[in-house]
Assembly symmetry: C2
Homo-oligomer: 671 residues x 2
C-alpha cells in the first residue's frame, strides 16, 4: 500500500494524522503536532523518541532499535519513532518521557531582586497618543493620514510624523469605524500603529531558548506585567541542541527556512495566547524584544549559519538589530518592530547579554553598594592590591551550552562551554525533562544493617515517577557520593550495598517497578554517572578557567549567580558537593530564575536599558576555552566527584602568555 | 467536455495555453500572457477585445457581440473575447488593434531642455564604497558584519553603520566568494547592500502610468542614463482607466491584491530587462523612485482605495513614502528602498508633482530668467499690476485623466479633469492605440471639383493603416473643420462632398478597404467626433477654469507646457485649431515628452530635488473643478470646434466667492 495513506493514532495525547505509507513515526508525530523528543534529529543516534506500537504494522527493527531498546522492550512493541516506517494504519502509545510538551517551564525572572536590578523608570520607545480628527468632506479633502497628523500636531504638538504602508492600510478603515477617534502609537516620529481610543501600548519580551520559549507582555506606559507564559521551542523536532539545529539548517534543503518558520510561528502563537490571557488586542503590541543564543538569533532572522557552524564559528552579525515584526511573521501592530539586542560571539548570544544586564554583572563593584560585599574578606582585597572595595561576580546560565560571565574591576569576560544535554535528561538511561513524573530530588540513607534506603523521592507533579530529570540526577549522584556508593573518580563501588549489576553494568535502583508510573525500575547507571561527569566537568572547568584567564584570585569572588530553569531547580548544595560549581571561599550563591527573560523585559521597557545592553556587549571580552592553555588539565581535575576548590594548587597562576581573552570586538569605532 | 482542458492558439503572436472548457477567450488570453485591450474589464461594455475565431467552437453570440460587431464581422468569425467561452480547442487571430503590447511607448523626457531644468549636481542618497576586510580566524572571530564595519571605519571613516537581515543574509556568502573585497552601498548610515568590488550604485526611476510604465536606470554616482524602456501596465487587463481599476479593487474579492501584484511584477520585470540592457547586476540597483497618479500609487502600495473611489475621494496618504523594495516584490539590492514622492489629492498624484518639478513650474517667474519671457507683452504686465516681470506658466499632462498646473507669482494651483480614454483610441469606431498601423496624422484637401481628397495619412510603422490613434483623430477632426465638413457645433455637414451615410449615421472615409491593413474601410464617424468633443471640451474647460479660479488674466500666460506621450505626438496646431487647448495671446506652447519620468529621475539622483518635490506638493493648491461655479458654462463653450480664446467675454472675471481653490493641505505643521 505504498501509495496509500496510513492513519496514525497517538495515545494518550489523542492526536491523529494521515500520512503516506513509508513515513516514519517521528515524521508522522511532527505532522500531527505531537512533540516527540529527538536529540539527533531523527538519525537513530539518541534513542529519545521511543514509543510503543499497540496495533498495526511498521517496518522491521533496525540496529538503532536494538542498541537502545532491550529485548523485552522490543518484544513489548517498543520502537524508536525515527526508525519505524508505516506499513498500515497504526495505534501507538507515547510515554511521557518521550514527550516534550508537558515540561515544566520556568518563566519567572527575579529581576527586581537581582543585585543589579534594572532601571525602575519606564521609558519605552513607543508611546500611545489619543487623537480625534474631523472626517473628510468635499470642503476638506485632505488625505486620511495627513488629517490625523494635523490633529496630532494640533492636539499634542507632534510633528514630522511618518507611517509605512502597513500602518496606512490599517488607518483608513479603522478611522471610519471609530468615527476618527484613535489611539496613535508613536516610536519617535514613526507611527507604529493605530487602535481604537483608550488602548494602552503593550510590549512583548521573549527569551528564545534552544528548548523553551518564555514570553511576557507588559504595559509600556506603566511597566506592569500583563501576562507570562512558556512553550516548548518546536525546532526541537529538528534536533535538541544547537549543533543539531545548525546541521539541519546547513545540510537539509529548506532546513533553515523550516527552522525559522518553526520559531516564528511559535512566537506568534505565544503572542496570541499572551494577548488573550491579558485581554488585549494583538495590534496593541507595538514593540517586542527577543533574546536568544547566537544560533537561535540567526535561525530566527534567517541569517546565514554556515560560518556559525564551522570554525572559527563567527556570527553574521553581533550588532543590535531592529526589524519590522511583520518581517518575522509576527502579527502585532502593523508597524511594530522587534528589537534584537546584540550578541557577543558565535557561542555567547543576546540571552547572555540580557542575563548580565538583569544580574547587574556589568555594575558589580562599580557604581553601587553590593549587598553581599560585607561578606568579602577585607584581607583578600588588600592582598589582591585592589584600590577600592569591590568584588568579583560570576554569573552562569546552565543549559546544553553554558555561558559564564565574570565581572572584575569593571571588566566583563565571558566564556561558553558545551555542557551537553545530560541535564535535560538526554543520554541518561531513565532521563527525561522536568515534566510530570520526573524525579527532581533524591535523598538516600543507610538502614541499620547497612543496606541502601531511598529516604525521599521528590517527583514533579507529585505522582508516581516515570523517569529522572536534571536536578534529580545531580541530587542522586551527590547522595550516592555522600553515602559511599560512588567514589571520587566517578565509579560506582562494586559490591557496595545497593549497587547491583544491570544490563549495561553497575547501577543503583531508585524506584522499583512496582512503585513507578510505567511499571519499570528506575535506576541510575554507571553510564548516567559518566554523562553527568562530563557535563559537570565542562561547567566547573569553564568557571575555573575563566577565573584563571582573568587573573582572578578565587577569594575575590563574592557572588555566584545561577540563572536559567535548570539552575533554578538545582539543589545548590548537591551541585557544590559534586563539584558542578566550584566552591569559592567568600562567595554567596544565588539562583535568580530566568534572568535572560528579565533582561529582555528591561530592554523592552527602557531605552536606557537598551543602551546599557549595547554597552555590555561592547565591553564583554570573549575567552575561547578550548584554546585556553591548561584547560584540559582543569577539565580532567573538574571531573572528580567531590567538592571542588576554586583553583588547583598545582595549576598555579596562569602565565600572562596563556591569557587568550580577546579585546572587546564590538567596539564603537567600527560602527 | 466541461471538465476538459481546451487548448487555445493565439495568432499571430504565437502563444498557446490550456484552460478549462467554459473559460472566456479574454481569460485565456490573460493566462497566455496575450495582452488584449479591455476598457471595461471583461463586461462586454467597451468592444475593444475583438478577435476572430479561426477554428474550433465557442459559445454563441451575445447582445454585446451584436452591439459592437457588424453582421459581416460576426459572419467572418469575429467575436468579443470576453463573451466567447471555450467549448473545444480553438485557434484565434488577434488583430493588432486589439493588442496593447505593441504600442509605441514614449519614454524620453526632455528634462534637460525644460525651462525649469533640474539640479545638475548628482547627489543621490546612496553611495558605493570599496572595502577590504581580513578573513575571520580563531584569533579574530569578529562577526562578519562587524569586521566589514571596522574596515569601513578604518578605510573611509564611516561609523555607526546598520544593516537589516536581508543585507546580512547577502554578506556572509558573498564575502567568502570575493575574498572579503566588497562594494558596500550606504544610504546614510544604513547598508543598502553589498556587491563584488567595483560595482557602481545604480538607481531605477519609474513612471507608473495607468496605461504605460516607463523605466530608467541611472548611475547614481555620475547621473549617466544606463538604459530606458517602456512596457504596458498589465493592470489594463482589469480595466483601462483608473475608475475601472478602483472598482475592480473595491468590488472583486482579491482584486486589490491582483492589481498590486500585476504592477509589482511588471516593474520587477522591467527592472530585470533594464539591468540586462545596461549590463549590470540586479543587486546593483540600490534605490528606486516611482511616480504615478494617486490611484496607481495606492494600488501599487496596497493602500486602501475605497475612500479614493467614493466622494470626497481622499487618499489614504499624500505624504512621501520610502519603503523597502522587497516589500513591493522588487528584487533589487536586498536593502534597496523605493521612494514614492508625495501626491496632492485623490486626482492629482506624484506624477503631477514630478511633472511640475521637471517642467520647473514651481520656479516660473521666480528665481530665474524665463527664456520665453521676452514674448510677454509689457503692457499686459503693467495692466495686471505685477510689481515684477514674471509670467504665468501652465503645464498639463493629457491622459484619461488630465492634470493641469498653473504657476502664478509663486503660487501653484492644480486641477484634474476626467478627459476619458478617447485619445487612447477608446470609444472611437476605428480607434486604436498608437501601435503599428495606427493613423497618427491626417491632411485633407479638396480637389478642383470640390470632392474631398485625403492628401496625407501618416501611419505608425509606415505600413497600411488598421485604425486611428489619438493624435490621428485630433488631426482628422481639425482637417474636417478646416475643410468645412464639420461645423463649429461639432456636426458633420450632411451632403457635403466626402460626408456619407454609414451604419450609425454620418461618416467620412479616411482609408478605403483596399488600402487598409485589415481590408475594411477606416472612417471617422459622427460618434467619434462626439467622443472627442467631450474629451477636448473637458480639457479646455479645465484649463480655462483654472485660469479663472486663480484670477489670472489670459494675457499673463507666457508658457503652456504639454507633457506625456499623447501630448508629445499631438499636432499642436490641430489641437489649437479645434480648441483642445485654449489659445493664449502671449503664450509659447511646448511639448516636453515624459516630464513625469524626468521628474522621477531627478528625484532619484538628487536629495535636493527630492526635497523640492516635497515642497512642490506642499505648495500646490488643489481646485475641484466639478464644484467650481461656472464650470458647466465653460465646458459647454469649450465643446465648440473652433479656436478657443482663453476666456469668454461673457464669463467675465470670476467673483471672489466663486474661488474654490483650497489652501495647500500638505503643509508642514501637521508633519
Amino acid at each position: 500500500m505504498a501509495d496509500d495513506l496510513c492513519r496514525v493514532d497517538f495515545e494518550p495525547v489523542g492526536k491523529r494524522v494521515d500520512v503516506p505509507a513509508g513515513t516514519t513515526l517521528l515524521e508522522a508525530a511532527r505532522a500531527a503536532g505531537v512533540e516527540l523528543a529527538s536529540v539527533c534529529g531523527g538519525h537513530g543516534h539518541c534513542g529519545r523518541c521511543r514509543l510503543a506500537v499497540l496495533a498495526g504494522a511498521v517496518s522491521g527493527q533496525t540496529e538503532a532499535d536494538r542498541s537502545f531498546l532491550s529485548a523485552s522492550e522490543l518484544a513489548a512493541g517498543q520502537r524508536l519513532a525515527c526508525q519505524a516506517r508505516l506499513e498500515s494504519h497504526v495505534r501507538v502509545h507515547v510515554p511521557p518521557a518521550s514527550l516534550v510538551t508537558s515540561q515544566r517551564l520556568q518563566v519567572a525572572g527575579e529581576a527586581a531582586r537581582l543585585a543589579g536590578d534594572v532601571a525602575e523608570d519606564v521609558d519605552a520607545t513607543v508611546r500611545g497618543w489619543q487623537v480625534e480628527a474631523p472626517a473628510p468632506s468635499l470642503a476638506d479633502h485632505r488625505a486620511d493620514f495627513d488629517r490625523v497628523c494635523a490633529a496630532l500636531a494640533e492636539q499634542h504638538g507632534l510633528t514630522g510624523l511618518t507611517a509605512g504602508p502597513s500602518v496606512l492600510r490599517q488607518l483608513s478603515p479603522l478611522a471610519r469605524r471609530t468615527g476618527w477617534r484613535l489611539t496613535a502609537y508613536l516610536r519617535g516620529t514613526e507611527v507604529a500603529g493605530f487602535a481604537a481610543p483608550g488602548r494602552a501600548p503593550v510590549g512583548l519580551a521573549v527569551d528564545l531558548g534552544t528548548t523553551k520559549i518564555a514570553g511576557y507582555l507588559a504595559d509600556l506606559e506603566t511597566g506592569t506585567e500583563l501576562a507570562a507564559a512558556g512553550i516548548m521551542n518546536p525546532q526541537i523536532a529538528y534536533g535538541e541542541d544547537v549543533i543539531a539545529r545548525l546541521a539541519h539548517a546547513v545540510r537539509e534543503p529548506g532546513g533553515a527556512e523550516r527552522l525559522a518558520a518553526a520559531a516564528r510561528t511559535a512566537i506568534d502563537s505565544l503572542a496570541g495566547a499572551l494577548a488573550a490571557d491579558a485581554g488585549i488586542a494583538r495590534d496593541q503590541i507595538v514593540a517586542a524584544c527577543i533574546v536568544g543564543n547566537t544560533a537561535m538569533h540567526h535561525l530566527l532572522l534567517g541569517l546565514p549559519v554556515r560560518q556559525l557552524a564551522t570554525s572559527p564559528f563567527v556570527p553574521a552579525t553581533a550588532r543590535p538589530l531592529e526589524v519590522p515584526a511583520a518581517d518575522l511573521g509576527l502579527e502585532l501592530a502593523p508597524g511594530a518592530s522587534v528589537l534584537l539586542p546584540p550578541c557577543v560571539s558565535g557561542f555567547v548570544g543576546a540571552d547572555h547579554v540580557a542575563m548580565v544586564l538583569a544580574a547587574g554583572l556589568d555594575r558589580a563593584g562599580l557604581d553601587r553598594a553590593v549587598p553581599d560585599q560585607a561578606g568579602l574578606d577585607r584581607a583578600v582585597l588588600d592582598r589582591a592590591g585592589l584600590d577600592q572595595p569591590g568584588h568579583v561576580a560570576i554569573g552562569l546560565d546552565i543549559g546544553t551550552n553554558t555561558e559564564i560571565a565574570l565581572s572584575r574591576r569593571g571588566t566583563l569576560t565571558s566564556a561558553s562551554c558545551a555542557s551537553g544535554p545530560a541535564f535535560e535528561g538526554a543520554h541518561i538511561r531513565h532521563g527525561m525533562r522536568a515534566a510530570d513524573g520526573a524525579i527532581e530530588g533524591v535523598r538516600l540513607a543507610r538502614a541499620q544493617r547497612g543496606e541502601l534506603l531511598v529516604a525521599e523521592l521528590r517527583v514533579v507533579g507529585g505522582g508516581k515517577p516515570t523517569g529522572i530529570c536534571g536536578s534529580g540526577i545531580v541530587d542522586a549522584i551527590a547522595e550516592l557520593h555522600r553515602t559511599g556508593l560512588l567514589n571520587a573518580r566517578g565509579r560506582l563501588v562494586r559490591d557496595a550495598p545497593g549497587v547491583r549489576r544491570g544490563r549495561d553494568g553497575l547501577e543503583v535502583l531508585l524506584a522499583p517497578a512496582a512503585e513507578t508510573g510505567n511499571g519499570a525500575d528506575i535506576v541510575v547507571t554507571q553510564g548516567d554517572v559518566d554523562e553527568i561527569q562530563l557535563a559537570k566537568g565542562a561547567i566547573a572547568a569553564g568557571v575555573r578557567a575563566l577565573v584563571a584567564a582573568t587573573g582572578t584570585d578565587p577569594a575575590e569572588v563574592g557572588e555566584v549567580i545561577v540563572a536559567g530553569a535548570f539552575g533554578t531547580y538545582l539543589n545548590l548544595d548537591s551541585a557544590l558537593d559534586i563539584g558542578l560549581l566550584p566552591r569559592f571561599p567568600n562567595a554567596a550563591y544565588r539562583q535568580v530564575g530566568n534572568a535572560a527573560g528579565a533582561g529582555a523585559r528591561a530592554v523592552l521597557l527602557s531605552a536606557a536599558e537598551r543602551a546599557r545592553a549595547e554597552r555590555i556587549a561592547e565591553r564583554i571580552s570573549y575567552v575561547e576555552l578550548t584554546t585556553f592553555p591548561g584547560f584540559q588539565r582543569l577539565f580532567a581535575h573538574a571531573m572528580r566527584f567531590s567538592e571542588l576548590p576554586a583553583s588547583e594548587p598545582q595549576l598555579g597562576e596562569p602565565q600572562a602568555s596563556e591569557l587568550q581573552a580577546s579585546e572587546p570586538q564590538n567596539d564603537t569605532t567600527g560602527g
